[in-house]
Subunit: 395 residues, 2 copies
Amino acid sequence: MSISDNVRARMVEGSWVRKMFEEGAVLKQRYGEDNVFDLSLGNPVMEPPPEFDHELKRLVENPLSGMHRYMANAGYSETRAAVAAQLSLETGVEFTMNDIVMTCGAAGGLNVALKTILNRGEEVIVFAPYFMEFGNYVDNHGGVIEVLPTDEQFIPKLDALEAAITAKTKSVIINSPNNPTGVVYSEDFVHQLGDLLGKKESQYGTQIFLISDEAYRKIIYDGLKYPPVFRHHRQSIVVASHSKDLALPGERVGYIAIHPECSEREELVGGFVFCNRTLGFVNAPALMQRAVQNLQQVTVSVAEYQKKRDFLYSNLAEMGYSLVKPQGAFYMFPKSPLEDDVAFVKELQQWNVLVVPGRGFGSPGYFRLSYCVNDRTLEGSLAGFKKAAQKFNMC
Amino acid sequence: MSISDNVRARMVEGSWVRKMFEEGAVLKQRYGEDNVFDLSLGNPVMEPPPEFDHELKRLVENPLSGMHRYMANAGYSETRAAVAAQLSLETGVEFTMNDIVMTCGAAGGLNVALKTILNRGEEVIVFAPYFMEFGNYVDNHGGVIEVLPTDEQFIPKLDALEAAITAKTKSVIINSPNNPTGVVYSEDFVHQLGDLLGKKESQYGTQIFLISDEAYRKIIYDGLKYPPVFRHHRQSIVVASHSKDLALPGERVGYIAIHPECSEREELVGGFVFCNRTLGFVNAPALMQRAVQNLQQVTVSVAEYQKKRDFLYSNLAEMGYSLVKPQGAFYMFPKSPLEDDVAFVKELQQWNVLVVPGRGFGSPGYFRLSYCVNDRTLEGSLAGFKKAAQKFNMC
């Protein structure tokens, strides 16, 4: 037995997104890439904005001496300062570079943050449906994940949270705009959540970290804004990424930001830097840190994503699918017309449409589709959705 | 108490390299950058070879559609195939891309490999002096590190290894060319090591992974070659990096290679890919994967490093320092003239020379110096070494 028992078990349990990816590859081989409509992956089809190409060219054509060497494990001061300035602007809370650690994307940032705070057996609360990698991340560092429900609109149920928090609760992870639902939490909700965490901290004499995964923070529609968690809870950690806002998922650059007034802030940041180093990230990729430094206010075309959302939402709603209208990110999470979401996903596959069953996000009975794809794929998928709707008498 | 007890303890124990870095920063501020001779860090002063600049420019000026998107977690097929071809050439063992997983440098690769194989409490053997991060990496994934001695020439003692291997031994990590000693293991040694591991595998009915950290494989002097471990042990995993051979430490690109005939190879590679994803690396940075694809036979100027070694080695030897002549990497590990290596390091600091105490590598009574610095720094350090030699009557 070569491989770790735990890794083997978790591999078998597996990632539904990846499973769909593999089944999709088979379909594409059989029917041709153009005849399969793959809405299973959150791998944006959009290219980075022209400002990114410009920055990258500028850096590569005018190389700085030592620009590919190690820097401090927290990242370049200039990049950290640029992120801090932007966060100050967005949140009204004053950040400095000392509150920022550059990371290998949000996935790297989450692992670093969890490793830093978790003692073995401490609990981390998430709300289903949720990005299932959270479970792997928490397990990596000896934590125990606890999954709580959301309401009909996919908003976490605060009464369930109140009942679930114990002296062992170290953190609550939220993700808004949300993968897989596209829901954006309101300022009122975040305020209530912060209040509740504060109350529980007092009750138990503990600190409960609100970790806000904001990979999609800049992809929000209808003029909405995601309210800064920093205004509502002091023990707040934001983990962000340029994977989606600058369409750079393969380049692995993002950051951790901690509330400037977080208690034991300095030790926590020291922990982030230590864990960034010792988990083997060492630092976020050097060239990409410099490339994103001047692009903190730049985002891919949100209008284009909104157009895709409008197109798909209105079509699916008209066909009779039951779904919450997403306000951000680039996912929808409709109810599965069959109770068995895997069976329904297989039905859709017969019409060459690929989506992910809701159980891949801890919520059986739904399915996720990702609309960060080109319009031809979106348009092509409609026939399959329509046939499924007819077959299951939804119209 | 916000931070994990284990992380806090390990931070306090700390990295001597980092401590020296911080004390050096103070000295530099006081005396000026040019008057401090910093031989403490393995951060190559050399720029990447011109071939790298050429490749990077070519990619950036002719962007491929989707070149910054996610790819398979194992990395681009083309890059994996290029690495496999090069390894086949170097080792005489036939590799395919299926034996290669691209990683965020060797540090990322080591974490991925250890996470994949280790069950809680399983043992990993290293030989002092050793790169102390190995201890953090093993601990990250629930393993227990066991440190064994080397001989006067810094070659692992195989009789000690034979006595130390138990049914719980999951892996032995070697690092050649070695950090901190610069020693390169001989083919004969690697053969004996492989034999011993094979014998112990039969005795216990286990598999013992030989993990070879080959971050410095291409930086070898005097026409020597590092013998491929793959020829001598079937359960072999090589972890490599382009941080040193292409001088890209900040860019985080390297790979794991597994013996094509390793038993349970496919499950192991599946584990690497899974752990690469779930530890939060997701994939090695996209642009850098492409940039190194055609550079598998390119290396920074090894002759230049050899010149630096010759210069420093002959000077230190002449002053009376007792040291093993390094044959690779860019470190030396002389005996400390004082039994207390930290005290000696502080003496050197008085003459503005920065090195790292041997206890930072598990071997008190020595010190490490890094000569991947510019010639001015090397030359400037000699006065301090000379004064210390005189003070401690070494001449």
